[in-house]
Symmetry: C2
Subunit: 204 residues, 2 copies
Amino acid sequence: MDFPSKLIENAVGELSKLPGIGKKTALRLALHLLKAETDTTATLAEALAKMRFDIRYCDTCHNISDTAECSICANKLRDHSIICVVSDIRDVIAIENTGQYKGGYHVLGGVISPIEGIGPSDLQIDSLVERISAPDSEIKEVILAISPTMEGDTTAFYLSRKLRDFAEVHISSIARGIPMGGELEYADEITLGRSIVERQRQAK
Amino acid sequence: MDFPSKLIENAVGELSKLPGIGKKTALRLALHLLKAETDTTATLAEALAKMRFDIRYCDTCHNISDTAECSICANKLRDHSIICVVSDIRDVIAIENTGQYKGGYHVLGGVISPIEGIGPSDLQIDSLVERISAPDSEIKEVILAISPTMEGDTTAFYLSRKLRDFAEVHISSIARGIPMGGELEYADEITLGRSIVERQRQAK
């Protein structure tokens, strides 16, 4: 694609490095910014730079935070005897949005993936073990809330092996089963099979 | 959606103001930037700001440009007796990419749209008339290359009325017909009908 201006070519080039944004979409975004007020672009550029340079990660759970301790870890009303282990910050946001969980988190920062060259040492696994083994630790349960993909299952397996020495800490994983609104006939065999084996008894 | 950080909330808010980008996509983009080197964000923010503040529009054809005269208008090898009138800079890029056109352009900056409150005076129509009526004008042909939508056709009709006083200037419009690879049975009736009425005689 030939551009009539080096400035727009640069902007399109940078925008199209973002995931899911190709050259055509990048050009549409650039032309949108050109048509809008200059303030729009200034605010966007500033918000991005500020986010990237000023962001911090919580020293305890590695969630993103504006301060050394994130708002979840600092919240005295939450139950810090439970830790929910997730791979990504997006998972924290998703679980928080359900409003069903009031414990703490631990963000691994990814999953074990030999193909992408991500090993256990690249993730926040040691710091999770440290949190649990700390003398003043009050942790009673660790929930493994990792997406059930090949890499996710490997990570969960690795973690449960790592954590089984802590006899006093319960390890659980999020329930697998048929999602709300899901049709039985379209569910895959493994999910349907497990949802029958691990059926939930109803209260009478 | 609740965010654990004001910084990320601001960035997601600004990103999701872009066309075709919702909150979820914006969050994915923001987290991608957080994972990448700080340079990536700095370069992106700078490229956007530089584009918005330093961009110029060609004084003659209103194409985007880094200088007062765009590279197309300044090119002495092009045929400046033909002007191709388009609504948008994207159309210039699309036509340039075909490599089939070696004349000049005139970018209107939109199409007449009463619903969006865009009238003829909001577009670069007067400057087109000025270009043609200038005493030293060498323009012999004006090609109306405007998308055949309701608004586009209105704009083309308005333009051809405006330009019909210039007896020495030919007005043409881009050919309508069945696109390459298009199937006759799926073509709409108006296109198919016109492609038969305005059939092109083959050279023997």
